[in-house]
Amino acid sequence: MSGYGQEFTKGILKDNPVFRMVLGLCPLLAVTSTAINGIAMGLASTFVLVCSNTVVSSLRSIIPDKVRIPSFIIVIASFVTIVDLSMNAWAHQLHKTLGLFIPLIVVNCLILGRSEAFASRNPILRSVVDGVGMGIGFTLALFLLGTVREILGSGTFFGYPILGTAYNDILVMILPPGAFLAMGIMLGVFNSLDRS
């Protein structure tokens, strides 16, 4: 029985959902135009991931195999709606910026993937740790991508100008193509680091 520490860190490094497993790219590419958007999306996804892992894992002996996917989807969709409503109520500005992408967490294959591949076969505590680790890994990746794109694309970091007025914004970086460019370069860097 391997330690929980390993279960936790694998999501951040060895099996990072974005850089190693290349999961959940739809929200990743869409919302990471600023660092704060990246973090908010990451945290919202982490919350859903941890909650759905917990529930799926605790129901794993009750849910028959044939209806497991619909059951997982219902569980995930419920938590996403909870996040959606809560953000609308208590983080209204952020909710406006992230808009459509909050409900779209439902179809983030990272979350369904962890329910199916991990939580439905492992005890509760282990699934929670897995969810937290994967969530943090996902959040870090979104934050990193958001930071790079915000600095290059608008010369700011968390909304504060850091590159001075002389800096000419590379506009494409905050547009959708910029997400692919930044993502591709970062994947390459991670792969080469991994090999060496």
Partner: protein, 208 residues
């Protein structure tokens, strides 16, 4: 219990629990969400009718635009409450770069703009989205149909376009002009203090 029945019970059970949980969350968040929405309206009214106190819940008028669509005209009373000091209403620019742009605009009785506020838009980030900047929205303050040609400079008008983005400013400017024309044509009705809504409660001078 046959296996089919088991599938049905489990799935129904999960759905029922999820349904009840969501109903609970909805009840809890209903109030704060409504409050945030109202706060948003209040903030935009303050921005487009600077210096006036506009209560979104009283003294408004429900009117029709030229295309017969409904529009709610929020109105700010004068100090003694017997006249209208400013009116604010929503206009829609359907010709933005991507999707409709919703704009709140405030007009004073003399036909001068108090300001505009972009309520929602989906323009390109970093280009068209610059229409939300104070420096651009501020261009409209104090302008009226008489002294301004509401076209972007590229089209021979008075409104600055933005670098790399002409379509969004053109759309907003056009919508604002239409709004001003609508106001001019319906001025009598909008400024009729006796009409519509409830009577204004405490106006600015007495309470704050």
């Amino acid at each position: 219990m046959t296996s089919t029945w088991r599938l049905i019970t489990v799935l129904s059970g999960i759905c029922a629990v999820a349904g009840f949980a969501l109903a609970g969350v909805y009840e809890v968040t209903k109030e704060p969400i409504a409050y945030q929405k109202k706060l948003e309206v209040i903030r935009s009214l303050e921005a487009v009718l600077p210096g006036l106190k506009t209560d979104p819940d009283s003294f408004f008028l429900d009117m029709k635009r030229e295309d017969e669509s409904q529009v709610r005209v929020f109105r700010a009373p004068t100090q003694n409450g017997d006249a209208v000091a400013g009116a604010a209403f929503e206009v829609v620019a359907p010709d933005g770069y991507s999707g409709n742009i919703y704009i709140m605009m405030g007009v004073f009785p003399d036909g001068k703009l108090g300001g505009i506020e972009i309520l929602s838009h989906a323009e390109t980030p970093g280009l068209g989205s610059l229409i939300v900047n104070e420096s651009w929205k501020g261009l409209f303050r104090g302008r009226s149909l008489e002294d301004t040609n509401f076209k972007v400079k590229k089209d021979g008008g008075d409104i600055d376009q933005l670098t790399g983005a002409t379509i969004s400013p053109r759309a907003v400017s056009g919508a604002v002009e239409k709004g001003l024309i609508w106001f001019r044509d319906n001025r009598e009705a909008v400024l009729d203090a006796a009409a519509g809504g409830e009577k204004p409660v405490n106006t600015s001078g007495e309470t704050s």
